[in-house]
Symmetry: C2
Subunit: 443 residues, 2 copies
């Protein structure tokens, strides 16, 4: 009764049904009216006075205090339902191993120490840092140790932390591949750093521009450049590592989808060549699902303290249960099995997509098909690829244009065709629909 | 075999057993030596060349390329095992409802839509925002709607996001209660904002100092001030809300442990008085466990877009599975039951602690016992409370001193005695040991 009366009066005041200045009945009267004991009413009046909703003076009746009104948030525009979804940044989330994940949560929560759920080392749970170290050494040729790993909320937070640490060290400029993902530019700019565009050709990033710049670091995607799909050549890797040998320079390796290489074994991470200058960033966003929001930084030893402190100030560390579950998934081998299953399925989709494109759009070049979860459909220079993307959207096809990803402008044009969200049996129809949008003009 | 040979050679180069310039045997020779097919060896050489570990020129034997060495991270100092742990910032993590959490993960993963595991609204999963809205309205008198809620990684990230948004708006100064938690000052400073100390007396924050300042916002703990334990009075609430009515001013309400009130129903949140000027921040860190790392911001409508964008740039959103599980825990009533169980247990511990203190240290005042998970043991002004804390540590007692929490210095001295980590049956002994450290001097 006490709780009901309190909530009734409080809402009436909050919603303006009882306006400021209104005198309430005495506790005795209200108690009689409602069939309550007077003590209950007095308690509720006291409570609401303590909260600031009522003004009470000795020997006076309680009056309603002024309360400000609340504006509602703007309603959200509904997300469109796509007929065909060529999104290039997301994997097939239907593959997420729900049952193994539940089992891993259960197993790790059952055996977790008391400390596991408390505040802890801001680098993350040691169980996950050990599992990630072993996985990265085995699968990616990364040289690290658990002490140099910091667990993050995916690549976005890894980049955010690095930018903040570099800015605090006095850096002003971060080099980025062009083309690259505009969402990531936003993260860099939020930390106050300037972006320098570094061009990519069919061998990967051209390090020349870096040499004449004051960039403190460069973000690269050597295993499968996003969005062009280029695999960085050996010569370019060597040139890049040579640039980084200069005072205080850093390479940030975004190793986002290297697990999915189709024509041969995945090229090992750049980080292995120079662990003192290359920060390796991996995530579970493509191998499991973006919603897992777990990533891992392998840091040069002299960056660990700063990144750890920045992680602490940002969010006091990543969620413990997810970390324990992922550690269990990796160390039981379930993670590898999952990656294997996914690779098999993506390869089939990729083959189907490449076949359909060569059948329906034979005059256009398909690039970057060796790895990852998307290909680049190259269009003629200087056509309006964004207009194609808009036209496609109006026909229920989600597809992203290349030109908005050119950090410093340029003539490259194309469409990014991801197959994470496109089921195998829909690919042919999707390409047929897309071909109708592009027609002969894009070639 | 291919994989083994690749990893063997790669590690040998990475670890310096094969030094730069070393000529490798021809693929033919190595194949014969190892009993492998020549194709396997050629593949491995190609792979390692692509990764940058080998230099290959046509018609020349492969040579080892230079690889930089890696420094190990410094080994961590081991965390001490405390005899008695009076930590004031952590709850009893042994109460974490492991089985209900597992059931919630299972139930929500079974029924989750495909989209739930994909990238999504940076404010967080709608299921959790709806559950939190209902909970906050019911339990804390907060006026919000799911569109104005942003899910965060606990209070730390909520504060970080707000600071970054305020700084981007041009704010220079954030007011903070003194005393307060130094960890939080670090978060504020990381965003480039200056801290202004606002004193707290036994009625709560004194808003006078705010009026003469250029502070854009103030962070307060009205339900149970940290660390003094003061509950902000009605008059102070009104004064604070009046200050915030000025142009572009904001109150950030850290509602960290309001669920644990022992002498009466918890005082409703300040936010209810003015949802257009007060940001309410709640978390699961005290009710469930800090390792859950989930919190929720209830924002004024005009802050939503900026905070959402900042959350996106920081980490692309919080983990999906945890959000779904917590939404399930709240909406099935399990969360309320958990809070009820915890409140009952903490009340027993609190009573025991207060009794033990009045028996063993009757000359010292105990403050802030009405709510929360800690009390403040007030010492004489200007004694060296940090020296007491150090002396206690040397005897295996973890306890924090008050004076390092004074943002602008001052004469207040005391010790924070938390009972989240101190089992009921150890309290008496713990206080006895502490009393021996303090002796007669602290009184």
């Amino acid at each position: 009764m006490r709780k009901n009366l309190r909530e009734t009066l409080r809402s009436a005041i909050q919603e303006g049904r009882l306006v400021a200045g209104t005198t309430l009945p005495s506790s005795r009267t209200l108690a009689v009216n409602l069939g309550l004991s007077r003590g209950v009413v007095t308690d509720v009046y006291d409570q609401l006075a303590a909260e600031g909703y009522l003004a009470m003076e000795p020997r006076h009746a309680a009056t309603v205090a002024g309360v400000a009104s609340a504006a509602l948030a703007k309603p959200e525009p509904a997300t469109p339902e796509w007929r065909f979804d060529f999104s290039a940044t997301t994997p097939n989330v239907e593959l997420f191993p729900r049952r193994p994940w539940i089992r891993s949560v259960e197993r790790s929560l059952r055996s977790a120490s008391r400390d596991a759920l408390d505040y802890g080392d801001h680098r993350g749970r040691i169980e996950l840092r050990v599992a990630v170290r072993n996985y990265l050494a085995r699968v990616r040729g990364v040289r690290t140790d658990p002490g140099r790993i910091v667990i993050t909320q995916g690549f976005t937070q890894a980049l955010d932390l690095l930018c903040r640490v570099l800015a605090a060290r006095g850096a002003t400029t971060l080099a980025f591949e062009t083309p690259s993902l505009p969402d990531e530019w936003a993260t860099v700019r939020a930390s106050g750093l300037r972006l320098l565009a570094c061009p990519v050709d069919r061998h990967g990033l051209i390090a020349d521009k870096l040499k004449q710049s004051d960039a403190a670091a460069v973000v690269v995607t050597p295993a499968h450049q996003f969005p062009t799909g280029v695999v960085m050549t050996s010569a370019r890797r060597t040139a890049l590592v040579r640039w980084a040998a200069g005072e205080g320079r850093l390479i940030i390796e975004d190793d986002y989808d290297a697990e999915f290489r189709y024509d041969r074994a995945a090229v090992g991470a750049l980080q292995g060549l120079d662990p003192g200058r290359v920060v390796h960033v991996g995530t579970a966003s493509k191998t499991l699902a973006p919603g897992v929001r777990l990533g891992w930084l392998s840091l040069p030893a002299d960056l660990v303290d700063e990144v750890r402190a920045c992680k602490g100030a940002s969010d006091s560390g990543s969620p413990a249960i997810d970390q324990l579950a992922l550690a269990d998934l990796i160390s039981t081998g379930e993670y590898d099995r999952q990656v294997g299953r996914a690779r098999h399925l993506y390869r089939r989709r990729r083959d189907q997509l490449v076949d359909a494109l060569s059948a329906r759009l034979p005059h256009l070049r398909v690039e970057g098909a060796a790895a990852g979860l998307h290909v680049l459909l190259r269009l003629q220079e200087s056509v309006d690829d964004s207009a194609f993307a808009r036209m496609a959207a109006s026909r229920g096809i989600a597809v992203r244009a290349l030109s908005p990803m050119l950090l410093a402008g340029g003539r490259d044009r194309g469409l990014l065709l991801g197959y994470g969200r496109l089921p195998f049996e829909r690919i042919d129809e999707a390409v047929e629909s897309l071909a109708r949008v592009i027609g002969r003009d894009g070639g």
